[in-house]
Symmetry: C2
């Protein structure tokens, strides 16, 4: 059933953005995995990285189905996402875990807001919304990251202030990047009008704060 009122011209942009975000999340996480303190952690982190790759494959398949070249679709988002990664290079394994946790959770919150308003629903078809929902579901992933961070903090009390500081840096850079994305004409409208987007940034910040508090960290 095709809803003729749909204006789906923004879907390719969204897919390109999601594909590049998932591909880089895979690359960074798998690079950092080998600095894990134990082989058990290495195996877990490798598995999480491969989950990000599987998300990338889902989005890539959607791009190909739409007759689009994945690399061309990703291109507009390369600079922004690369800059974000360059500005948040983890100094060690714990910082790498924290970065993955902050960014994965924030990305999940951002995806959750996609096409949810009455106006924005017209901008995403059912299959696009189903895809976003599939990629967004990384509960298992973020749960593991949160628990592993909690254990590390419990084991070494000197970690807490350092990771709190690092978490603020990562979320600061991530929100800057999120704001730029929301301002873009190609994907911004998928998140609603100006007011909705400002409210979304506030929600992202608030939800991040709650996650940090749950770890006993000052956000």
């Amino acid at each position: 059933m095709v809803d003729s009122s749909l204006d789906r011209s923004l879907e390719p942009a969204l897919y390109g953005l999601m594909a590049y975000r998932e591909l880089t999340a895979f690359e960074r996480l798998s690079s950092d995995a080998r600095f894990s303190p134990t082989l058990k952690d290495r195996m877990e982190l490798a598995r999480l990285a491969v989950t990000e790759y599987e998300h990338f494959e889902l989005v890539r398949a959607a791009l190909l189905d739409a007759g689009l070249e994945p690399d061309a679709a990703m291109e507009p988002y390369v600079d922004g996402i690369d800059r974000l990664h360059e500005r948040t290079r983890p100094g060690d394994w714990h910082e790498s875990l924290m970065k993955a946790y902050v960014m994965d959770a924030l990305t999940s919150d951002l995806y959750a807001a996609l096409g949810t308003g009455p106006e924005e629903r017209r901008l995403l078809g059912d299959s696009a919304r189903a895809l976003v929902e599939r990629v967004r579901r990384m509960d298992e992933q973020t749960t593991w990251l949160a628990q592993r961070l909690q254990r590390a903090i419990d084991d070494d009390e000197r970690l807490a202030p350092r990771l709190a500081l690092w978490g603020r840096r990562v979320v600061g850079e991530s929100l800057t990047q999120a704001r730029r994305l929301l301002d873009r004409d190609d994907v911004g409208p998928l998140f609603g009008g100006t007011d909705a987007r400002a409210a979304l940034l506030a929600t992202l910040t608030q939800r991040h704060s709650r996650r940090m508090s749950a770890l006993g960290l000052t956000s």
Copy 2:
């Protein structure tokens, strides 16, 4: 059907070795993927890395089926394989491709020699031999690497002498590591007696030389 003449006490050691080799191959290849010159290459290399991870998962499942802890089984092979990777750190993307090609092909040749002699067949059960065969089949992978290297060499003639030199370094370190493995009491016997192992090292060298010649490189 259980063959009571089987002495399968070496299988856990073999699985531990294979698991760690595949896990590190995944980590190194995915780390290097992001330095790819184009997004197409990055996507391809990420996919190859994930294939190595899938091999790791197969071996890990076999270890768990045998009631063994994967990390404990891998532990005896960590130092040797880590040292090999440390001594062959690629200076750029092309060296990374060449390293993956040389090592994947050599590993495939090494796996192919497992449990093939009449005596050694008794040391590996059917399921172990089937597992080795599954992990070994990376034709698609090595074909892609060989073609990509060929294209790079054709595009830039200055690459050939540098990659030839690098290939000699990588194979030299790899053969040193292979020789140490063949000398170990835990996995060595799976490759036959002293003469068979010496012959295997010669075969590995010869097959590597043929691959380099096919690329137009002096081995």
